[in-house]
Symmetry: C2
Subunit: 599 residues, 2 copies
């Protein structure tokens, strides 16, 4: 059987940076070629970055993507890698669109893979299945392809598919099996989500069995707005054996030597299979190397990795070099500052303490202790003079006065960020955002919110994990013990704690898990054993806080349903989960499939 050295390059490209992305792809192809690879696979839309969103609707953008992939092919040949076969994702276009509501006929973009060899684009594949749920909007911006592509590379028939194609029954996977493919190469930009790595492995193994050939699954790496791509590229044999597995949250070349059947053009499917021979002769026999099969990180370590990478890439890709965080002595800002130090180094982190008259001494001490442990620059500006100036002009009291303090802090930190050119990090966590427990334009200010998708209970877990991890490496734990153990408080009035307004965080987070992640109704939550009064108050808070979340900065998605592109709800929305008694009303008289006709 012919041999093939397949390199999966799990790279970090940036949306819109076509020249930069081409340079990344050239660089990693060079590394793969020097490592003897015959076939190099890059992620979905690596040339343009993922997701391009409505940029795909700009003719000039699609033109530039097409030009970039042509330029990439020529550069590869010019640099001496023309005999390596490269498969890379980009945006192309096809045909005419006739949807009148979409603005009349026009040529529409496709999510494509290009096969590059000998200085040219020798074949092209368009994704069949366009995901349009959760964070995905591909049906909005792309038209689907319907042909399978099989390229003969060094005598092996390699079928190509893109991401969602693998998640659908039938389609390209089945076609690849019927067409007798020796290898199925799948290009992905599959965002990180807790526990998704297990789901992916299972899926790839099942599809490899269906296709009757190994699958090489290459995934993107890196942060892009709210998405974090985790890499974790895989090669799985038809029998389900994992032949190679790459690292998570970092760029890498995952190289596998495979023995594959010689390509034989199989009859059938001719109308829908495009066959292109790139190189007919098999590789002369060589001694295969063992591949690395890395194990994925444990859960909390994995989340930490996602948060650090998401933060680093948001800072870097948006042209910032440094960040500023308001450190209160509390756990949220401590974890954010620690993540920032891990992401971009403490020398690029500025912590500002903004104590008020209600701030306890332990808060100031804990904030300073954090700065010392982490090694970032620390400044303190008491907010009393500004708060007093406001109160001298406008008589505010109660919640309005509490919010005033938060907004004076927000204004101060934004002033420093503007003056010195830092990106402001917001410190709100997912539990707070869910119930709207934050001050708009106050503690919620910032261009990026590392904990946006991290519930409060997980904030504590991550902090403890990070400290333990430091100890295990013989380093000082970054987060002060007192910050972890003290009761959480916004300190906007004397002796305030979060639990004056909210249920205990373990209860709150469990309800949020059911309501937000699970889309469960009130009746189901009561069945699950939650207290009705608590459920009602939490659900009402969540529904009412949508307007506030809309004005909040992006943050890295780590759950199935983050408060971002995953969950799109109206602001003007009078829907409230029906009380349990509503489920006792008479059965509906609308039958789903058989209306009660009188004909």
């Amino acid at each position: 059987m012919p041999q093939l050295r397949v390199a999966m390059a799990q790279v970090d490209t940036t949306v819109g940076d076509l020249d930069g992305n081409v340079a990344v792809i050239l660089d990693w192809t060079r590394r793969a070629a020097q490592d003897g690879a015959h076939l190099v696979l890059f992620p979905e839309t690596a040339v343009t970055g993922y997701p391009v969103e409505d940029l795909a609707l700009r003719t000039s953008f699609v033109d530039a993507s097409r030009r970039a992939v042509g330029r990439l092919a020529r550069r590869l040949a010019d640099d001496g890698f023309g005999d390596v076969t490269v498969v890379v994702g980009y945006v192309d276009r096809v045909g005419e669109d006739a949807r009148p509501g979409a603005g009349g006929p026009r040529r529409l973009p496709q999510n494509c893979a290009a096969v590059l060899h000998g200085g040219r684009v020798v074949a092209r594949y368009a994704k069949h299945h366009l995901p349009n749920y959760g964070v995905f909007d591909e049906y909005r911006i792309f038209v689907p392809g319907d042909d399978l592509l099989v390229v003969r590379v060094r005598g092996v028939d390699v079928a190509v598919a893109i991401c969602e194609d693998l998640w659908q029954d039938g389609g390209p996977v089945q076609m690849a099996g019927d067409a007798g493919a020796g290898l199925l190469a799948v290009l992905n930009a599959s965002p990180y989500e807790r526990d998704k790595d297990d789901v992916r492995l299972e899926l790839v193994a099942r599809r490899a069995a269906e296709a009757g050939c190994p699958i090489a699954y290459v995934n993107a790496v890196g942060g892009q707005d709210e998405l974090v791509f985790d890499g974790d590229s895989l090669v799985v044999a038809a029998g389900g054996t994992v032949l190679a597995r790459g690292p998570q949250f970092r760029e890498a070349l995952v190289v596998t030597d495979l023995d594959l059947p010689a390509g034989v053009t199989t009859p059938g499917w001719e109308e829908h299979v495009q066959r292109v021979t790139v190189t007919a002769e098999a590789v002369p026999a060589y001694e295969p190397r063992a591949s690395e099969v890395l194990q994925p990180l444990p859960d909390v370590a994995e989340v930490h990795g996602a948060l650090v990478l998401g933060l680093r890439d948001y800072v870097r890709k948006n042209g910032f070099r440094s960040v500023v965080v308001a450190v209160s002595g509390g756990i949220d800002s401590a974890l954010v500052a620690s993540l920032a130090c891990d992401a971009i180094g403490p020398e690029n982190v500025l912590g500002i303490s903004l104590p008020s008259g209600y701030s306890s001494q332990h808060s100031r001490d804990d904030a300073e202790d954090l700065a010392n442990r982490c090694g970032f620059e620390y400044r303190q500006y008491p907010i009393a003079p500004m708060v007093e100036a406001f109160l001298g002009t406008v008589p505010l009291r109660g919640v309005a006065e509490e919010n005033l303090q938060a907004r004076v802090r927000g204004t101060t930190i934004m002033g420093i960020a503007n003056q010195e050119g830092h990106l402001t990090l917001a410190t709100s966590n997912k539990s707070e955002l869910a119930v709207g427990y934050s001050t708009l334009y106050g503690d919620s200010v910032g261009g990026y919110a590392p904990l946006k998708d991290v519930p409060k209970t997980l904030v504590w877990e991550l902090s403890r994990w990070r400290n333990a991890e430091a100890l295990s490496r013989g380093e000082q734990p970054p987060i002060p013990e007192n910050t972890i153990t003290k009761p959480p408080s916004a300190e906007l009035r004397p002796d305030q704690t979060d639990q004056d307004s909210l249920p205990p965080y373990e209860v709150l987070d469990a309800i949020l898990e059911d309501y937000v992640e699970g889309d469960r109704g009130r009746a189901e939550m009561l069945e699950a054993g939650f207290d009705a009064t608590v459920v009602d108050s939490v659900v009402t808070l969540v529904d009412r806080a949508e307007w506030k979340r809309r004005q909040f900065a992006p943050g890295p998605k780590i759950s199935y349903k983050a408060f971002g592109r995953d969950r799109r709800l109206p602001i003007t929305n009078r829907w409230r989960e029906p009380a349990a008694s509503a489920s006792l009303t008479p059965p509906v008289d609308v039958k789903t499939d058989s209306p009660l006709g009188q004909d």
Copy 2:
């Protein structure tokens, strides 16, 4: 030929308020019945409000929508209107979804119409064509139907379709023609957009010709987040004659007497046409009444109507009674305050002047003059003490100091809003938002932004139009002449004007029209005669301001591409329109449809 009195009820319902919406539908059915209507048509998803967005993915919500429509049918009969046939939009569900990425098999929602008669739901239709472009995400949340519904009402065969079904070639319109329908009833929730009324009329006329029967096109009215539904319901005969046309921007019953062919069950399409006889006997002959055919408003009046309705409904539907506006003496805040007075009455509007040391005397005078003309409460709080307190603590200068003033204003107005329970209106216009000419958490604070989709040149037009309209009614013009004629300035430093930083607004708005609305590339804009330097700087500003727009409040959409659900772009985005020279690079070597295979 049988006669039929058809009432189109263009009503304003609220997303999620199922009980309230059922009450609205009952009320308007009663009015229609009292007016002798035999068939009453309500808009698309009138029972749930439109758009429900991801609420459709909650089982409890879809259950509640199904129960509500059943309850509505019973209530109609109980109230004595069981012999009237009512067609109303709601959300139902059907079948199983097998998209694994979407979270495993589950029952999926449909965008439906229910036919109510005799206390029951007698038939159901599911929308075929699900728009998923612009502001629409229906492919994300609904599954399409594929059957046509024809109900025999008083001896006439009435086919039912929903909104996008009409915009697509073939589909339900053609099926209705083939099935011999005597009338095609189309339920819509079609958002307002400048000049769209002409497009709709043309479309309805063309489809009526294709179906070979009149079309009754009923559209929703009201504001829902960024969408404003304008009503403008229509009946158009097969020959293209407009038989009835309703008002814009207000609820109304549009009643038409039609002579229609007696229903005859036509062969063909049996498998895809569901026929239900509601009432077989024709109505006894009666004297038909003439219908009203209203003319749509002129362009600027129409925009004004959309802004007023959008603002009124946002305030009302979100449970507010009053608004606060920072009035600077400038044109944007003057127009916002005037719109607010038109929408909810001057007694519910509070104007706050927040002068700084850089504020001119004419600014203070103009703000006070505005308040006197409009009749809203006016207060003044100088911001110098707060600004000085900040500068005494944190040494800010330059742009950071300019932004500080804006943020002190934002903090003050939000404090008053919190204390007194007003909704804060943001005053930024579309031109500023486009280029990021605003201070985040400063002048951009607010829960609703009436001018979000209004370019600066249109702000002036609207102000002049509103003043002229007042004069024509013998009233005092609300906006001071000096506010309209003086050069625009943020007054954040001495002698500042907007044109220190921006091109003249006529030029800016023309470029934005091409780039934002038209998605045109740099090369096309240069061809259109714009200066390259100006285009480059505007386009760069627009691309870079995406992060800022994301944290901005909703506002009413009046253009083809508002900065909201219509235009979805990444924040982390290094794409810049290619310089003109890039269009001179060698032709691309990727052919669209025929890759250069070597097979």
